[in-house]
Structure formats: structure tokens, C-alpha cells
Symmetry: C2
Subunit: 400 residues, 2 copies
Amino acid sequence: MTADKAAPAHKGQSGESVRQHNLSTVLRLVHLQGTILRSKITATTGLNRSTVSDLVSELSELGLLVEKETVAPTGVGRPSLAVTATDNIVAFSVNPEIDATTVSAVALSGRVVTKERRLMRSHPTADNAIAVASEMIAKMSKELEPGTRIVGVGVSVPGQVRSSDGVIRFAPQLGWVESAFAAALSQETGLPVYLGNDASLGCIAEARFGAAKGINDAVFLFAGSGGIGGGVISEGRTVSGAAGYAGELGHIRISSSKQVDYSGFPGTLEALVRRNDLLDIFKLYVATDEELDAEIRSTESTKAKRLIEDQIDSLADGISTLVNIFNPEVVVLGGFLTSLFEFAPDQLISKMKRGALAAASERVVIRKGALGSNLLVLGAAELPFEALINAPSSFSLTDA
Amino acid sequence: MTADKAAPAHKGQSGESVRQHNLSTVLRLVHLQGTILRSKITATTGLNRSTVSDLVSELSELGLLVEKETVAPTGVGRPSLAVTATDNIVAFSVNPEIDATTVSAVALSGRVVTKERRLMRSHPTADNAIAVASEMIAKMSKELEPGTRIVGVGVSVPGQVRSSDGVIRFAPQLGWVESAFAAALSQETGLPVYLGNDASLGCIAEARFGAAKGINDAVFLFAGSGGIGGGVISEGRTVSGAAGYAGELGHIRISSSKQVDYSGFPGTLEALVRRNDLLDIFKLYVATDEELDAEIRSTESTKAKRLIEDQIDSLADGISTLVNIFNPEVVVLGGFLTSLFEFAPDQLISKMKRGALAAASERVVIRKGALGSNLLVLGAAELPFEALINAPSSFSLTDA
DNA sequence: AGATACTTGTTGTTTAAAACAACAAATACA
DNA sequence: TGTATTTGTTGTTTTAAACAACAAGTATCT
């Protein structure tokens, strides 16, 4: 099972589909805000008070949200009720890495209920990861509060995912090729499983809950040891492409360099802004982003500074291309790109503006991601939540 | 007046808005197809027969479309009625160039009713162009068939347009800077005026009526004497960015070249794939795309072939970056890029695939544009038509 | 040629859901 | 304490899509 494709174009709207749409709209609003006043729902949706009342009570009866009396009254007039997404609806988030797998339970309210990281031997096979994940999900399911219901499982994949059938096409760091991951994990867990590219999911998370909350046009660049990934939000929608492979922003070409000491495409952003090059110059084998950040902040080495500045220039070139293409409001950086940015923000910004059209770049803001280690946890959980939100009244939940 | 921004997110749907949506859906379907059977409308919208009947008759009463009996019956059963967009609703299309302005009247049916090109002294001022365009519109209005009603005016601008208020920010070839073009032309003509970037409009035209008809994810690259422009359709929507400046695909960086004989950004697609370089090598001062195409096809000069091949390689680099970013189904080329493609399609395709991710590039098709000289005519007319289609029952039309 | 199956348009009725209206509840402020 | 203000609640109205039954027209089969 995987995320649905966009609704077919030229579709008419019947009475029933309107109801579904409105239920979705209200539930989405509550999910995004965590808690929201009913009067606020009325205002933002433009629906009638009584209609909102009806919609909210239908969603309450479905057990998806709860109405409480407001504690702190808001002003003149009868106090409005607070509508909260329940903690009793959870999605599992599975985040495989090279040497570990993290599984979390995330509530519809946005709360990360539990989070467990299990170390594994390096480069596990896909079957291996599926076995570990399903075992962890089974264990964690039992530990959930009684009455909790499960929406499904979202998996962040460091590689290319075919969205139509949940197949991992190629995950270079893990060495997985053509794995029917979603089907297999769904088989093991009995739950619907949805896959997404890690950077795309990070992008979704930052756009909904983090640094680009409320922004309709944003570009994301996340970097880790495996390279640079990205995502794009255009007019509030993620740009996913014909088959779901869009957003490979690390592979944009910014130089004619023909370097050969690199397995990917020479001259691309990912080839010129490399975490490993930084580690090398600091003589580190492995390091967390925090450790690397500390080195970058404190270094006195001219050679290191030179490398950092070169990488900043390359990053700026990449961003200016993206700004020309997307004209975003915000560019969000994650991973060690944040450290580069904070090393010399003015250098990055001015170089970027020199390579970008004035009109497109004049209002762009570059900022760092806000979700930290919960980035992929929240991002992956959004996949099952999205499915639930798109069909609140007919979605079938599994008892924990 | 300009094109509206996307509808606010989190908007609920009332009964009336559903009706508007359904009227829009039907009218859009008819507009895109020119003529369509009522049974086909029923099938594609999923609405009930009787509902479609009602919607079509409301649109007929508004004078936007006509029902006729089918001439050639389609098969078993009662023949369905043919629904046709009327020729009595027209939009004006204004296409300013360096040395001429073209004004056309385009019917909702897609027919180009009239088209007139007026030569002007080189590099007219914006006021100049406004005066000429409004005079031509006034004259052509009188010549329209009696009973014809006018939707508005769409203008293709070779430069950056701020979509929120119809201001031309910068049109380098024309030398226009910060011109409130839409407001001024609207003042002169008494008609609503909408502006769009020329490449974006070409993109819309090819996506709706041309080489990417029915495709939901497509990338467009158009080249002329002024450089390379582009546009992107993602999940059926144009990517326009926060302020409407997105799609400057000519300005993506593909090389670290620091060449100085160029006014734009060195190392970008537009700097490396230049029409003028081709003209120079063929010792031409000016030439139509057809003339240039003939030269490219027939040349025996090794030097010329070398330049052409270099440009093909650069174009391929640009396309591979775009394929990695957007994962489109189709890449449409226009202007002299078509000639480059046809000179050595295999070279272009293989070089592109070498620079693009296998998953994203495996199903991409590169093809030439299909609309020829009507590209911008149809594209610009889509702006007013879109406004009409989005509000069929409340849009106020002007009598010719 | 005539009967039959099939598809579509038409008309009148039903239904679902949002809007509306009137009132009650709960707060702030004069 | 009284009044204005805002919001929730309840019962009624309205709108538009769905539904159902029938009529119209075409193709196919015998």
C-alpha cells in the first residue's frame, strides 16, 4: 500500500464528496494545529457555525478528535470550544539507517508517543530491516495505551521510491535495489504501509510543523552522509513528479567539473558539497552533525576555512538555480548545510543573490530546519495520517 | 487586473461553491476539447446524467456554449448531443516583440478569429506598446461579428511579471522596467487585462492544446533571440512560485564557466545555448527559426557542427538537471532548441540520461512543441479564459 | 422488416447537507 | 447590574445533486 495519487482532474463534486472534503478540511486543520478553537475553524473554513458543529461532532464520534471547554477564555462573548486531535490515534514511523532502525509511534495530535532506536549490523538487507521493524512495531503496539487505534506505518527511505506501488527502486547507502518493501512490511504487520523518500518527508514535516509552517512556496535541502536530498512545496503541494521521483535536488548540476573521485554525477551540488570532505579535513572518521558543527565553528585552519567557503559558494550556486526555478518564499536547510550557512550567512546570501534573478530572489529567506531529530519521525507519520485525513469516515483503523 | 492567486487553503465547500466548481469543470472540459459529447462529460466528471444536463443548459443560457445534434452517430443507443464552446466569446491576445506587436482575437472554442501583426520602430516604450495594442483592440472589436462578447485581454511578456498586480518588473529585450502595464492597458481598453511571462504561457498552451496535452507532469524549454525561458506543469498545475517568477529555466547553472561576453549569469543554460552564437557561425545577422533550422540541417562545416554538438551537450545537461528535479513525463522544446534536438536526437537523449537518475529519466520523452506561431497567441488568451472558466456565472463580459 | 438490446436525454421526485434563523449560554465591560 | 458581544444549539429552509422511470433514437440479430 502506498500514498494515493492526486485526484483525477476534471472530476465533478457530488453531495457526498463535499461532505468528505469538509470532514477532511476540518480534520486537517486540527491535525496541523494540534488544538484549535471551533470558532477559528468556522472562520478559516468559511463554513457556517452549525455546519462546523456538525462536522466536528461526526469526527468526534469517529474517535478522531475531542472537544474540551477552553480553560483560558479568549475575550468577549461565549467562550469557544477547543478541538484537539486525540492521542489515541497513532501512526508508526519507521526510519531505517545504515547501522540502525528507528521506530516511533506518533499521535494524530503530533505528539511522539514512543521512539526506539535499534542498532543493527551495518548495511542490513531489506528483509532484515522488515523483520526488525515489524518486531518492534508488534512490541510497541502492545505497550500502547488501551483503546489506542493504529492508522498505519510510514517509512522514510534514503533513496528512490516508486509511489504507485511502494517499491524501493534504489537506496544506494543501504544497498537495496528493487525491493517491494511496502507490500512485505504490510504483510508482516497487518497494517497499511506507505513509503516516501526521506528528504521529501523531511520537507513535508518542515512545511507542516517546522521552519516553513504556513508557507506555500518553499524549497528544502537536507544533507547527510549519503548526500544531499531535497523537496519542493509549490502552492502548498509537494512536487512529486510523474512517478514520484521528483525532488532530487542534490543532483542538480552547478559546475562543469569532471572529477572522478565520486560515485555520483560530477559537477552536481551533491558532488561539491560533501560531508565526507569536511570530515576528512578535520581528520574525523565519523561524527554527529553536532560534532561536525562544533569543528566548523571553532576551526582556525586556513585550509579548512577555504574548503568551507568553497562549499558555501557551491551551495549558493545550487540555491540560486533553485530560486530561479521555484521563486520560493523560504529555503530551509538541514543537516550540516545548517553549519555551512551559520559559518558565513552573508557570504551564502550574497553569492546566492548574485546568481539569481533579482525579482525571484529579493524576498527569499534562508533558514535552518526546526524539527531536529524528529524530522523524519514526523515526516514519515504524515503518510498514513494523510490517508486517514483524506477519508476520515471510511478509513479502517486497527486496534492496538 | 491579473490572474487570481490560488484559492486559499483549508477552505470549506458550501452548496453554492460546489455548483460553481461543477460549472467550471464542465466549461473547462468543453474549452479544452473544443467539442465534446455530453455523455463524455458525464463519464469524465462522474456526475449524474441529469446533473450534467442541468449544468450544460445553465452554461448555454449564459451564452458560453452550444448544444448541437451529433452528425455522425457514435454507436449503439440514442446519440449523445455535441457540446461546443461558442465562437461568440473571444479574448484578445497581445504579444509584444522587439520590433512588432501582434494582437489576435481567440474564441473560447480555440479558434484564432483574427490575427494582426503591426511593425513598430525598434524597442518601443511600454506606453507606446499600450497605445498600439489598445488601438488595434478597438479596431478589431468593431470588426467582430455582431453579438460577440469579450472576456478580456491576455498579454505575453518577454520578462518577469509580478502576478499579484500585473506589473512588468523587467523585460530586458524591450528595455521595460517596472511598468504597470496591466492597469494602463485596462484603462485604455476598458477590459480586464492579465499578464503572463511568455515562456509560462507557451507552457500552458502546449500543455492544454499542444505537445503535452493530457500530460500532468511536463517541463518546457523555449528559446528565442532573447534567451531561454521555460515553464513547468506539476500534477496538472503550473508552477508559478511565491510571486509568480518561477520557471526561469534558462537561468539554471550547468557549468562553472566564468565567461564574460554575456550579460546574464555565466555558466547558465541560457549562456551556453545561444541563438546568436549559431547565427554568428553561419554569418547571419537575423534569421527566422526556419532559416536557422535549414542552416543547421544542411551545414557541412566542422566548426559549425562542433558548436551545435556543444550546445546539444549543454542542453542535455540542463535537461538532466530538470529531470532530476521534476521527474516529468515529457520535455517539450520550442524555438531553435527543436533544431538542436533534431540535429542529433540520440546524442541529446543519451547525454541527458547520463546526467540524470535512472529512475527519473527512464520514461522521459523529449519532443518538439506542436503549436508553432500560435503558441503565445493561445497561451495569452488562456489568462482571460481561465478567469471566465473559474467563475462562469458571475463573470461580466463586455459587448464587442 | 421487425423485434430487441442498448445508450442517452428528459422529467418529476427524493435526499443529503449546508445555510439560515432564532434562541440560549457564557463572557467582558460600562 | 445591565448591556453588548460572541459562540454553541436546535429546528427549519433551501439548494443542488442523485435517483427513478420513461421516452427517444441507433445498432444488431433473426
